[in-house]
Structures are given as C-alpha cells and as structure tokens.
C-alpha cells in the first residue's frame, strides 16, 4: 500500500434529495490526500465542507464517483464495513468535543479500541496517548463535565489517535475554545503531523488554517 494516497476522490458528487428540489452538496470533486499531509478545508458555510469531511470519514457515501481510503473503494460498502473503517482507520475531532458523558476521560479514550482489543491493552494504550496530549493523570478518571474545554478537546484528540488512524479528521477543532487554548490544541495537532499523522481539518479561521501545509477552498460544492 506504500505510495498509495491515503484518500482519493474521483469525480465525487453528492446530491441530497429534498422535497423542495435536489441539493448538490458536492459537484464533481476530485482530490488526493497523500500520507503525511496537513490540509485545511476552508469555505463559506453551506459550501459543502461538512459533506466533504463526512465522506472522508466514511460517514457518508457519494451519489456518484468513487472514494478510495488507503486503496479501498468505500462507496459500495455496507454500513458495518464503513463503521469498521471509522473505528480502525479514522480519527474524528469535533468542534463540540463530543465526549460520552457517561464515561470517564480515560474510558472515552479507550472506547474505539476497547471494541476490538482487551481491556488491559486498551487501558495501556489510552494512558500513553493521554500523556502525549499533556493530560494530567489525575484527570483520567474525571467525567467530561468536570473538565475544561481545552482538557475535553485533548481527551477528544487522544480518543481520535488511540487507534493509530491513517487519517485524522478535525471539524473546527478550536471553534469552541478561547484563543490561547486553541493555539495549544493546534500545537498538539501540528506536532502529530510532524510525526507523520495525516490530518484534514475544516475551519473558518485563516489563522488556524495557517497551521496546515495546504489549503483547499470549496465554494458551492466545487473546489476553488
């Protein structure tokens, strides 16, 4: 698989049928994400950024065209196969952190791998990633509600990295954080990228986009 792009979009179109008429969210988009890239996706709201990110994350499949994730074509995969890809190959970081409130910080981080791996191994791996995110050991057993926004986002990043994904997808990762905390989070992501992690990040903020090495602009479902 070496040399293959992580992601390959071939003429991808996504149409949402609505009663008021079809909405074309993505219009014949082709793009490639190579291993080790750090890409910012920018564009006005409603331009198709989220749709693009959802497809990269195997949450959605195209209406037409083909998407290859590490060489595998995903557009005809079953829901279960797509879920497995998300679990094993992809890390998600959301604007709202989206931690599971019923689980402690460390259990949140474990979640994706505990589904496939023994508890002990999962715990060991979770601790390793959380420490790499500069999270204090004392916070591990806290519930998400007891953590600050910055801490929650670090836990979320740890969760996204715990399965050692091929691709880390971030949707406005600093959108809910103050500037200082946001900068710290971006530093963490940049550090991950320097170590070889491939990252695609959606953002409004040109300053945040500055951390990326390449920026894709999208307007009305087309790459600009």
């Amino acid at each position: 698989m070496s040399g293959d792009p992580i992601l390959l979009f071939e003429d991808v179109t996504k149409v949402y049928p609505l009663p008021a008429g079809d909405v074309v969210a993505l219009d014949h988009v082709s793009l490639t994400v190579e291993p080790g890239e750090f890409i910012a996706v920018m564009g006005p709201s409603g331009s198709g950024k989220s749709t693009l990110l959802n497809m990269m994350g195997c949450l959605d499949v195209p209406t037409a065209g083909k998407i290859y994730l590490s060489g595998q074509e995903i557009s005809r995969m079953s829901d279960d196969d797509l879920t497995r890809l998300r679990r094993d190959r992809i890390g998600f970081v959301f604007q709202q952190f989206n931690l599971i409130p019923l689980l402690s910080a460390i259990e949140n981080v474990e979640f994706p791998i505990v589904l496939t791996t023994g508890r002990e191994e999962s715990r060991r791996r979770a601790i390793e990633v959380m420490r790499a995110m500069h999270l204090d050991d004392a916070l591990f057993s806290h519930r998400p509600g007891e953590l600050s926004g910055g801490e929650q986002q670090r836990v979320a990043i740890a969760r996204a990295l715990v399965n050692d994904p091929d691709l880390l997808l971030c949707d406005e990762p600093t959108g809910n954080l103050d500037t200082k905390t946001g900068t710290a989070i971006m530093d963490l992501l940049a550090a991950e990228n320097r170590e070889g992690k491939t990252i695609v990040m959606v953002t409004h903020d040109p300053r945040i986009a500055g951390y990326a090495r390449r920026t894709i602009r999208i307007v009305d479902g087309r790459l600009a």
């Binding site: 949450l59 279960d80 497995r84 094993d88 989206n98 019923l102 689980l103 994706p112 589904l115």
Partner: protein, 397 residues
C-alpha cells in the same frame, strides 16, 4: 462489556425513571404470580371439596337440556326413574352394585330449632356401600332409626341415641355418617339418611330420583355406561349416564378457565408495565441521539448500539422480575393461606394447600413473562437507536 457498562450507567443516571419503570414490572410480576397461585389454590380447595368417587356411575332422569354438572339446578327436578328401568339398569350393570335412591325433603325439628333438610332414601343393604359411619350403626330395615350427616350432626349437636323429629314423627338417631364432601352421587354431610323400607312405609312406593352404580373395576366403567345406555336409551333418551371423571373434568375445565382469566389480568398489568418501559426507553433514545451518533461515528456498529439499549431493558426486566418474584412468593403464600382459611371455615377440614412446586412454577412464569415483555418493549427503541443516521444524530441538539 463496555455496552453493558454504558447501559448500567445510563440507568443509574436516571435513577427515578429507572426505578419507576422497574416498579411497573414488579407489580406485573406480582400480579401474574399471585393471581396464578390464587387461581390454583381455589381449584385445589374446590378439588378438596369434591370427594373423589371415581368408581361411581350416576344414572339420572334424562334432562331436555343440561350442562352435565351434578350441581346444575336443573338436576333437582323431581323427575324419576321407574322400577322397570331400575331392573334394566341392574341387568346392564351385571355383578356391579346398583344403588337406587330417592331424594326427598322433610321437616326436621331438634329441640327448639328446625327446618327442612335433604333426605336420602336408600335400601338398607346398600347404605354401607355408600357411606362410612363415624359413630353408631347403619339404620336397619324397617326400624325407625335414621342416620345423620356429619356436619348436620355437628351443627345440631346430635349423637347416636339423640331423638329428633322428622316429618312430625319422633325418631332415634342410630348413626352419624362420616364427612364425605360434595360428591356427584350424594351430598350427605347436611342430610338425613333413611332406609327405603322406612320411607315407603310412610309415603308408599315411589320411583327413584337417581341410581348409583358402584363399579368394582375402574376399567369397566365405560362398558357399564354403554350397557346401561343400550338397555334403556335404545328407543328414546330416558336417563343420563355420567361417571365422576367426566364430571370432575367439567370442574377442572371451569377452574382452568378461571385460572386463565386471572393470569390474563396479570398479563394485562405486565403489558402496562412494558408500555412504561417502552416509554422510558424511547425518551432515553431521544435524549441520547447525539451520543448515539457519536458512538456510531467513532466505530460502534448498529448491532452494538442495539445491544446496548436491549441491555437497558433487560436489566430493568430482570431487576423488576427478581424483586417481583421475591415479593410474590410471600404474597402468594399469604393469599393461599387466606383463601384456605376462608374455605376451611366454610366447609372442608384439612385445607388443601397449593404445593410449593406450583407456587414456584407461577413465580418463575411471572418472572419469565416480565423479562420477556421488557425485552420486547425495549426492542423497538433499541432498533430505532441502531437505525439512526450518524450524521443526523450528531447534529441533533
């Protein structure tokens, strides 16, 4: 296991809601188990009241319409079986003992109390085949002694040797019949038993109200019945021929129906409980839509989400069933004890209790029913949760 963990934690997060849903199941399980136990204590007690006279074939005048139930009020019609037909019955019955009897009513006066009583008129020789004596002797031939049923004797404080007034004539009590319970042939506990000779001397020859055939070998019952039917009912229906097993069956059918009805009431209360579980689970799924979307997007499969919610309803069901089961064993015992007390006060000695295996059977049935309905109630919400589109669920606020 993490999904079981999540289910438990979610139930704990909404303690009051979970407890209330469980209470519904508890009540349902108790209802099913205790109504079931009550139903079977009823039938056990009534079964105890009906004395088992399985060796008996009963021949009664044919009724135009009858339920076949010996306690059917239509059976008290003053219809008779003629002496000629008695002869035919005797012929058909062969070596089996044929006991003709007349049911009469006489006024009884004992000291300052009195009133009408049932009187069984039976040939003197046959009385020992029908009744056990508790005290004294059986009435003999033409002598003026009468026998008194055990409960009537208790009530009026009669003993062998007591004098009573029957139809205006003073007679001596010679024997007390042992308690027998209700039977399909005769119910002597509150009655007088006199010899046929004594009766005909006073009232003249009469036809018989019913004829009892005591069959010495149970396997011959069908044959005897068929022979009697052959002999008498060839041209037109003159008599009805019944054996006690048939009649007991009618009873057990009736009580089975009551049992099913009682269980039905219990089942309805469990259904109500399952609706409350359904409600709680739907609320839970709606509240957790975002969480479900997140789990799905980071790798939880549909099936895993389904299982997580099924765990919730399973836990509610098992918890409710366990508590309900424990309570209903206690309640069940109390209920059957009360019913037994009520009945023993009324009629029969030695209250027929419900065997422990039946109690446990109904409790287990109630618990199984409770658990299964809970799982069924959880299925729709769980399925709904599993079908959620992760993108839309994530966006849900």
């Amino acid at each position: 296991m993490i999904f079981l963990d999540l289910a438990v934690r979610n139930l704990k997060r909404h303690k009051v809601r979970s407890v209330l849903a469980t209470v519904g199941i508890i009540i349902g399980v108790i209802a099913i188990a205790s109504l079931g136990i009550m139903g079977s204590s009823l039938s056990a007690l009534v079964g105890g009241l009906i004395s088992d006279v399985s060796d008996t074939v009963l021949v009664t005048p044919h009724l135009a319409a009858s339920s076949g139930d010996p306690f059917d009020p239509r059976n008290t019609l003053p219809a008779r079986i003629s002496g000629r037909n008695l002869g035919l019955i005797e012929k058909a019955a062969g070596q089996h003992r044929v006991i003709p009897m007349i049911l009469a009513t006489e006024r009884l006066q004992v000291r300052d109390t009195g009133g009408y009583v049932t009187m069984y008129v039976v040939p003197a020789d046959d009385i020992p085949f029908l009744l056990q004596e508790e005290a004294g002797i059986y009435p003999q031939g033409r002598s003026s002694g009468v026998m008194v049923g055990s409960l009537l004797a208790d009530e009026l404080d009669l003993h062998p040797g007591s004098r009573i007034d029957v139809g205006g004539e003073s007679v001596r009590v010679v024997g007390i019949a042992a308690e027998r319970g209700m039977g399909i042939d005769i119910n002597p506990d509150y009655a007088l038993i006199v010899t046929e000779d004594w009766y005909t001397e006073r009232h003249g020859d009469q036809d018989y109200s019913r004829v009892v055939v005591k069959v010495s070998d149970l396997s011959e019952i069908e044959g005897v019945k068929a022979a009697i039917d052959q002999q008498i009912n060839r041209r037109k229906e003159v008599v009805d021929v019944l054996d006690s097993r048939e009649i007991l069956e009618i009873y057990y059918e009736t009580f089975d129906a009551i049992n099913i009805f009682l269980l039905g009431i219990g089942a309805v209360s469990l259904l109500v409980a399952s609706v409350s579980i359904l409600n709680v689970m739907i609320i839970s799924v709606t509240e957790r839509t975002g969480e479900i979307g997140l789990m799905r997007s980071i790798g939880a499969r549909r099936q895993e989400v389904l299982v997580m919610f099924l765990y919730e309803s399973l836990i509610l069901g098992i918890a409710g069933s366990l508590v309900g089961g424990i309570i209903s064993i206690t309640v069940g015992y109390y209920v059957s004890a009360t019913v037994a007390e009520f009945f023993t006060g009324f009629a029969v000695s030695g209250g027929a209790g419900v065997p422990i295996s039946v109690v446990i059977g109904y409790v287990v049935f109630g618990m199984a029913f409770g658990t299964v309905t809970s799982i069924l109630a959880g299925f729709y919400p769980a399925w709904k949760a599993a079908r959620l589109n992760p993108i839309e669920a994530l966006r849900y606020e």
